[in-house]
Amino acid sequence: MTKRQLIEKLSQKVEGLSAEDAKLVVESVFQAMTEALGKGDRIEIRGFGSFEIRTRKPRQGRNPKTGVQVAVSQKKVPFFKVGKELRQIVNPAGAKKEP
């Protein structure tokens, strides 16, 4: 599913929500989330999951093609932790807790 298909589905699902408005909704949602993560904020969506920024330490890397060592500086990466409900619905068979 792509963003465009998501917008289409949203518009179909809600009577009276035009494709343009559905687009506004979906774009606003992800813009708001992008901005929050850009500021380093954590995002928590119940039942879906949470996003946070994790910091990767600086390390010695290597150019895989040439084998030359390069210093990789510290960097930040967005990290997503799957929420409980989402984890269970994608994996109904394994939803039962391990004994």
Binding site: K3, L24, V25, V29, Q31, V82, A93
Partner: protein
């Protein structure tokens, strides 16, 4: 940031009633969840991809009791942030 703040943002751009906006935001996440539950990867350009990965049976152990058990095969969701998002996250503090 919570869902309430996302709803607020949608309300500011879309207008209408806040209740409606809340419903739309709720539906947006539900549709993504349903897509994943149905076995589809979900790609939001400019943000990232939610991918399904199939994990085979593998041995594991209960870290508390050290007891060995087989971990059943399962599907898990992973997220890969888009370059746009990765760059955005790094430009502030890097």
């Amino acid at each position: 940031m919570t869902k309430a703040e996302i709803i607020e943002r949608v309300y500011q751009t879309l207008g209408g009633s806040k209740q409606e906006c809340a419903h739309y935001v709720e539906l947006t996440f539900d549709l993504i969840k349903q897509g994943l539950a149905g076995g589809e990867n979900v790609k939001i350009s400019g943000f990232g991809k939610f991918n399904l990965r199939i994990k085979k049976t593998r041995p594991g152990r209960n870290p508390r009791t050290k007891q060995e058990i087989m971990i059943s095969p399962r599907r898990v969701v992973t997220f890969k942030a888009s370059h746009v998002l990765r760059d955005r996250v790094n430009q502030a503090g890097a």
